[in-house]
C-alpha cells in the first residue's frame, strides 16, 4: 500500500486541459499498421486532424478536446514511424498522403473537414487538392512551406547538395539497422525536445514524454523511429507545395504564427497571398510561434471552429 507521502509516480504527468483520446483503434495502410485516435462522440460529424513531423497525435491532447467539446468527432492518427504506429522500411511524402487517405477511408466516404499542423497541414492541403470529393473544408496551421526551410520533412527540403552531404547521408544508411533512441529521464527527454520547441513549457514537454515515449528498463525513449531524420536532400522544392495550395476548391484557412523559430517554415502572409485558392484566407496568430495550437489552444480552436461553422453535413 502506497504511503500518502510518496512522491508522484515517475510515469504520469498531467497538464491543464489535456485529455487522452476517448477511443483508440488501428487502421491498416497498405500493410503498415497505423494508430488512430478519436475524441468526441461517435455520432458527431467527423473531422480529420494531422500532426506535424516528429510529433504524434498526443500533441493534440489539449487542442482536440476543445474541438470535440464543440460538437466534432475529432479523428487523428500517428503517422507511420511516429507514436504507436508501425515503423516502415521507407518514408516518403506520397506514402504519408496515402496513409492519410487510409485513415479517411476508415471514417467515412463523405466529405469531411481537414485540419493539420506543420507537415500535417501541408500533407492534408495536398490531399484536399488530390481528392476534392472527400473534403468539405481545410485549415492549415502553420504548415505552408515557402521558399524557406521545411525542417520536419525528411529528404525533401533541399535542392542544393554537396558531395559531402550525399556521402554523409549514404554512410548513415549503412548503419541505420541498429539505430536506437537514447534513453533518459522524463526531464531529460523533455529538455531534448525543448531544444526544438523552445517556446513550449517544461510542464507541457514533460507531459508529452509520458504520452509519446515508452518507459523501458534503462529509461524513457521517444517512440519515433530512430531511422527518421530531419533534413536531407532531394529534388523537391517548397514552391511546389505553394502551387498545390492553389488547387484547393473548398473553404481554406491558413493560420500562421508570427514568431519565427527553428521548427517553423518561416512563411508569412505575403508569401502565401499569391497562391491562395479563391476565397481562401491566410491569417496571422499574433505572439505565437510554430506550435500555434499548443501556445494558444483556445484562440486557435476558436478560429478553426469559426471556419468550420456551417460546414458540417
Amino acid at each position: 500500500m502506497q504511503s500518502v507521502h510518496a512522491p508522484p509516480s515517475d510515469d504520469t504527468r498531467s497538464y491543464p486541459g489535456a485529455r487522452r483520446p476517448d477511443r483508440n483503434r488501428r487502421v491498416d495502410a497498405s500493410g503498415v499498421s497505423l494508430a488512430v485516435y478519436e475524441w468526441g462522440t461517435e455520432d458527431a460529424p467527423p473531422l480529420l486532424l494531422a500532426h506535424g513531423g516528429f510529433d504524434f497525435a498526443g500533441t493534440y491532447d489539449v487542442f482536440a478536446p476543445i474541438l470535440a467539446d464543440a460538437g466534432w468527432r475529432v479523428v487523428s492518427w500517428d503517422q507511420r514511424g511516429h507514436g504507436d504506429s508501425e515503423r516502415s522500411a521507407l518514408y516518403q511524402w506520397e506514402a504519408d498522403m496515402r496513409d492519410a487517405v487510409a485513415v479517411l477511408d476508415s471514417i467515412t466516404m463523405h466529405r469531411v473537414p481537414l485540419v493539420g499542423h506543420s507537415k500535417g497541414g501541408s500533407l492534408l492541403t495536398h490531399v484536399a487538392g488530390g481528392i476534392p470529393h472527400r473534403v468539405s473544408a481545410m485549415v492549415n496551421m502553420d504548415g505552408i512551406p515557402s521558399r524557406r526551410a521545411m525542417p520536419d520533412v525528411q529528404d525533401r527540403d533541399r535542392t542544393k547538395l554537396l558531395a559531402s552531404d550525399l556521402a554523409t547521408w549514404l554512410d548513415l544508411r549503412h548503419g541505420m539497422a541498429d539505430a536506437v533512441r537514447k534513453p533518459g529521464t522524463i526531464a531529460e527527454l523533455a529538455a531534448r525536445r525543448g531544444r526544438m520547441n523552445p517556446r513550449l513549457s517544461t510542464e507541457w514537454l514533460e507531459y508529452l514524454v509520458t504520452v509519446g515515449a515508452s518507459r523501458e528498463d534503462d529509461g524513457w525513449r521517444w517512440k519515433i523511429d530512430p531511422t527518421l531524420r530531419m533534413g536531407g536532400f532531394g529534388p523537391w522544392r517548397p514552391e511546389w507545395s505553394l502551387q498545390r495550395l492553389a488547387d484547393v476548391s473548398v473553404p481554406f484557412l491558413a493560420l500562421l504564427g508570427t514568431e519565427q523559430e527553428l521548427m517553423g517554415f518561416g512563411t508569412t502572409v505575403d508569401d502565401v497571398r499569391g497562391f491562395l485558392p479563391p476565397g481562401g484566407r491566410a491569417v496571422e496568430v499574433p505572439d505565437a510561434g510554430h506550435f500555434i495550437h499548443i501556445e494558444q489552444p483556445a484562440v486557435v480552436a476558436g478560429m478553426v471552429l469559426d471556419h468550420l461553422d456551417g460546414v458540417a453535413a
Binding site: 500493410g31 516518403q92 529528404d155 549514404l170
Partner: protein
C-alpha cells in the same frame, strides 16, 4: 571459367535485404548492372559485356527481384541510390550500367560516390522518364499490397518520382568534377527525357553505344585514394 552463381549475396540496407547477383564471373573491376522499373537483376546482361574482363553483377532494387518489399511503400530514387551504394560498398568500386530507372540511379550514384563509380552508362529501359521534370497531377489511389515483387507500390511511386533537370545536372557535374576521369558518364539511350537532355550537355558526358562506353571505362584507372 566457372559459371555464374545461382544464389545471390544478401546485403542489408536498413530494414531491407538486397539481392546482389554475380551474373558472370571475371577478374578485374566489376560491372554493376542496375535494372529498369519492374525488371530485375538479370534483365540487363548483353552481348557487348562479353569482352568486359571483370565480373558482371546485377542488383535487385528494393521491391524488385529477390530483394525484399518495403511494406507500405515509400520508394523514391534516392533510396535506390542508397541500394546501389550498399552494393558498391560490397564490390569496392565498379563501372555501373543502368537501364531506364537504373540509368537515372547510375547518374545519382556516380555523383554521390565519384571515387567508387568508374564510369556510368545510361541506357533505355522502363522508368527512364520518372514522373517528369516537375510534379504532375496527384494520384492518391492506393495500389494493392501484395508482398511480392515487383511491388505494385514501387511501380506506382517510382513512375512518379520527379526529376528536375537542374537536380540531375548537379549529380553529373559532381561526378565529372570529382571522379578524375576525362569522361565519367556515357549516354547510350535513344530516349531523352528532360533530365537526360540536361545531363547530355554537361562536361564529362559522352554519347556512344554500350560497347564503346565499356571500352572507354574499361581503360579508366582506379581512383587515387582520397585525401582527408
Amino acid at each position: 571459367m566457372t559459371n555464374a552463381s545461382t544464389t545471390p549475396t544478401i546485403l542489408r540496407h536498413n530494414r531491407i535485404d538486397l539481392a546482389l547477383w554475380e551474373l558472370r564471373p571475371g577478374t578485374g573491376r566489376p560491372l554493376l548492372l542496375l535494372h529498369g522499373l519492374g525488371e530485375n537483376a538479370s534483365t540487363g546482361i548483353r552481348d557487348e559485356m562479353e569482352t568486359w574482363e571483370g565480373p558482371v553483377h546485377g542488383l535487385d532494387f528494393t521491391g524488385h527481384g529477390a530483394s525484399s518489399v518495403a511494406t507500405g511503400g515509400g520508394y523514391f530514387c534516392e533510396i535506390l541510390m542508397a541500394d546501389a551504394d550498399i552494393a558498391l560498398q560490397h564490390l569496392g568500386s565498379a563501372t555501373v550500367v543502368g537501364r531506364g530507372l537504373g540509368g537515372y540511379i547510375a547518374l545519382l550514384i556516380a555523383g554521390a560516390r565519384p571515387e567508387q563509380v568508374r564510369g556510368a552508362v545510361i541506357l533505355d529501359g522502363p522508368g527512364l522518364h520518372g514522373g517528369g521534370p516537375a510534379p504532375t497531377s496527384l494520384d492518391l489511389n492506393r495500389p494493392p499490397h501484395t508482398g511480392s515483387t515487383p511491388d505494385p507500390v514501387a511501380m506506382t511511386e517510382l513512375a512518379r518520382d520527379v526529376r528536375p533537370p537542374d537536380y540531375a545536372r548537379t549529380f553529373a557535374w559532381q561526378a565529372s568534377a570529382l571522379a578524375e576521369m576525362d569522361s565519367v558518364i556515357a549516354i547510350g539511350a535513344v530516349n531523352r527525357p528532360p533530365w537526360l537532355v540536361e545531363v547530355a550537355s554537361q562536361p564529362g558526358v559522352v554519347e556512344c553505344d554500350l560497347a564503346t562506353a565499356l571500352a572507354l571505362f574499361g581503360r579508366a584507372p582506379d581512383a587515387s585514394p582520397r585525401e582527408s
